[in-house]
Symmetry: C2
Subunit: 249 residues, 2 copies
């Protein structure tokens, strides 16, 4: 710790810390949750799949770095990248998480509607949407980061309006429901979901105009836009798993 240093910081504090951002980018594609991965072109873990990310620039906040890397390393258009919902997840700082040097990484979670196929950019060999759960072991501690990100997204769907971030500007309630079903991995009751969403003020806002077909079949659905609310009161809890039993007999 910095002890009796009259002015300035302890020089030992200036060990070569590198600061990076890592991104867990989720999207929905054909009703399945996908995550954006890049194939590393450099050692360590050359050829392994990893989360996109990179170093902070000298006068750049971690959030700004995350948005820049999102555009650069994935080849998504600047407009597409700017529309993504970006949120800090947590920071990973284990001394041995990078075998070569000390790297502290601030992880971010990004969400977006059905997105175009990315191209590898920067030092990545390739970039691809991979169905969540189908990815092999990732480089560094990225498996843990991805798991944390998925858990966080699932939890935030319960008590925030985050789900609209997965949807295009105009969407149907069926599409919104599929966000929940894809992330949580459970089917939801359609009528109840509809009522719950519409009963939450500011969650969605109806769009004037004709309905739209969704899956090519069925009755055309009314369109909605994201509202201005940010929190859900009361929350939309995921269905209780069968394992837990309550003793209220």
């Amino acid at each position: 710790m910095p002890a009796q240093v009259p002015s300035g910081y302890d020089p030992r504090a200036f060990e070569p810390f590198a600061v990076t951002v890592d991104l867990a980018v989720f999207t929905l594609w054909e009703n399945r949750l996908h995550v954006l991965l890049v194939r590393r072109g450099e050692d360590p873990h050359r050829g392994r799949w990893a989360l996109p990310g990179g170093f902070l620039q000298p006068r750049e906040s971690a959030g700004a770095a995350a948005r820049r890397e999102l555009a650069e390393e994935t080849g998504l258009s600047a407009a597409t990248a700017a529309d993504l919902h970006l949120e800090q997840l947590r920071t990973y700082s284990d001394p041995d998480r990078d075998p070569r040097m000390r790297v502290v990484s601030v992880a971010y979670t990004a969400l977006g509607p059905g997105l175009p196929e990315p191209r590898g950019g920067g030092d990545a060999l390739d970039a691809r949407w991979v169905p969540h759960g189908a990815q092999g072991p990732l480089a560094f501690d990225h498996d843990a980061i991805l798991a944390d990100a998925h858990e966080r997204v699932g939890a935030k769907l319960e008590y925030t309006c985050l789900a609209t971030a997965f949807c295009p500007p105009e969407f149907t309630l069926g599409e919104l429901r599929q966000v929940y079903e894809a992330v949580w991995g459970v089917p939801l009751d359609r009528p109840n979901f509809r009522r719950k969403v519409l009963a939450t003020p500011g969650f969605v806002r109806p769009v004037e105009g004709p309905p739209r077909l969704t899956g090519g079949r069925g009755k055309p659905a009314a369109l909605y836009r994201a509202g201005d609310a940010t929190a859900l009161h009361p929350p939309l809890l995921r269905p209780a798993r069968p394992e837990r039993r309550e003793t209220t007999a």
Copy 2:
């Protein structure tokens, strides 16, 4: 960003980043929420109150640094500091948050039962428990960190068993309820709170033995210990306030 570098990282990535931890330590004292603050002995902000914290050592994770600083800079005994519940909050990385150099800070939240008065240690002139809300403007961006920490703790009380971290090993349900009341700033209905807690499996575990007096008055209360559960299903929602704001930055 690191572009075509055949091996090793881009040298520009090694800008002098310093990595620190900052701590928002809460406790309950006379039924009021208090925060641990230190008075800075060094510039910048010499003499101003601030959150305790310090630099990461070369081979130390942020969590380890947080626990070390907690003991060192506050003068709390090692045993006391080890008992505190410690949890990562988020990372603050604005390039201008420290006027002299680039400092990225990983903030932590710590909770503990009624704690002894701390002594200033390290480079702090003084260390003190300050009633939450009564602190003046803090150094750096610590006002924002403290506000985020308080919001996070309040939210986590709703859906986790975090409240027991504010209590000594053995506590009464009245003491547990005062945790909620102090953090949320609202009174709760005693009978309903009791039923809710006891109906949640694993939240608390009764202790064999005689009851204990709490405030010196009233009927002695049964004692409980923290259970092994970590999450609350269903959550214990705070009473509907007129309105609440969310800060997503």
